[in-house]
Subunit: 294 residues, 2 copies
């Protein structure tokens, strides 16, 4: 686990870039030890389907991050008109590749492709994204599973800032399988009292105002305003929406920063943590696989 004592944190800002840098430096050290012990690099297999520019950018960022810490990338691409069978076949090929410890299929897939069988095609032992039901169930059971990168990255952020969680009232806005649900489970594992809200919640402001720790993953730019936040709360913004004015989060940062003790910005908050956590998870899967063989 990385240590964060060296960082001089701004009082109100959760600096995801600074924390991610510490995490990546630690992963680089651990990857070095892995390579000496097992004589190979941990490997991340990725599949990009189609030519969505945002997806292509994310994949490039992930590859660069891998390279920086010494993780090998094994990359496959398919055109936008790839069939369901193509996507599943290449996914299976990545899974079968002995050099691949974790398999990441970049989402969203182009319209018309069903992500469900693709998710199930990646076994829990190579499920670096933590999307497989097994991994979600393992987290819900407090077994040792791979949590989806974004919520796991949020936990690392909260720990870096020593945010108390035991008995804290945590409110999660959003309940997606990849973010909101695992987020809620990770907070429960750490003994917070957890409320999950969503677009059918009757009085969202009433719920969020109870939160000592408020995690927002709604994908609705500017959804959370100062009047919805308890004074002194810690607010983490997972929402990222591409708008004509650039990347926007779910939290009105300048407004909320006036009442919250800590707020994470977009960009520069959770985003860098997601990629840093992907590196951690790839290494974790590589270690588990190498040890299972030893």
């Amino acid at each position: 686990m990385a240590h964060f004592e060296g960082i001089a944190f701004d009082q109100a800002l959760i600096d995801g870039r600074a924390v991610a840098e510490v995490v990546r430096a630690q992963v680089a050290i651990d990857v070095g030890e892995f390579r000496s012990e097992f004589g190979r690099a941990p490997g991340l297999g990725t599949l990009l389907v189609g030519d969505d520019p945002a997806s292509a950018t994310y994949i490039r960022m992930k590859h660069r991050a891998c390279e920086e810490v010494g993780i090998a990338s094994i990359h496959r691409t398919l055109p936008a008109d790839a069939t369901q069978e193509d996507v599943e076949r290449v996914t299976h090929e990545l899974v079968a590749d002995d050099a691949v410890d974790g398999v990441l299929v970049q989402v969203p897939l182009p319209a018309g492709l069903d992500p469900e069988p693709v998710i199930l095609a990646v076994p829990p032992t190579k499920d670096v994204d933590g999307f497989h039901p097994w991994n979600l169930g393992a987290i819900a059971s407090t077994l040792d599973g791979i949590a989806s990168c974004t919520p796991q990255g949020v936990m690392t952020l909260l720990d870096a800032y020593d945010v108390p969680l035991v008995g804290a009232e945590a409110v999660v806005v959003g309940r997606s399988r990849t973010v909101g649900m695992p987020m809620a489970m990770l907070l429960l594992q750490r003994n917070a009292t957890v409320t999950v809200t969503h677009h059918l919640t009757r009085d969202l402001a009433k719920a969020t105002r109870e939160a000592d720790v408020l995690i927002v993953a709604a994908g609705v730019p500017g959804l959370i305003t100062a009047d919805m936040v308890k004074p002194g709360a810690v607010v983490v913004d997972i929402g990222t929406t591409h708008t004509p004015d650039g990347l926007r989060g779910d939290v009105l940062f300048d407004d909320v920063a006036k009442v919250a003790r800590l707020v994470s910005p977009v960009p520069g908050g959770v985003g860098p943590m997601t990629i840093a956590t992907l590196l951690q998870s790839t290494l974790k899967l590589a270690q588990a696989r190498a040890r299972a063989r030893a």
Copy 2:
């Protein structure tokens, strides 16, 4: 699905026995159809380890319930001094038995035995108790999984009484893998706003007083008193503790019945639903297995 229009419900009491009877009658009809179509009875394989009288009673009740609806029971027992290997071996034998559609290992196991590998020994396709991480993850992902019998039975009760769930504030007390966690996920699937509380929750009464639907699975007799309940709320008591004075629930029934719109008693509330749901789940697994072969 069973229909409940015929039952004359008492205004304040959630009558689990009456609802369970309707469910069992429907399962009996569906089992009859299954037998005509596939030429065999659905089969429930059970394993009882040791001589705990309560566990022996539960197993007997389950067998009797199976018999009444036409489900075959395949029963194995092991002495209290059985080894971990014995328990896992017999579990594997039940899983391998072609006549067995669902495998139930009665918990708790005697002290010294680790339930974890036993739970993982039952594959999701025969996991009638819904204890396997896959099934928990499937529920969290709104995939089609087998939910643990007790929370699934609670959902049936809530539906029988037409309790509105969309946007309702639901509070679950307890977060066990087999009850509290799947309960929270099932309520989220039905679009309630869900709060999960536990023994480290700072102000339990504050949380429970917000609940339109309060589900209590703490195992602490008499934990929930009238002052902790919102007037007009629906309260379901999952707690069952064997005391010198008999079976006690987590809810002080007479007290809470004064403020709640509906309360489930112990006994006669959730208990009968757990067994009725076990029958439903055994049939569901049998149908899935038979169809996968057809």
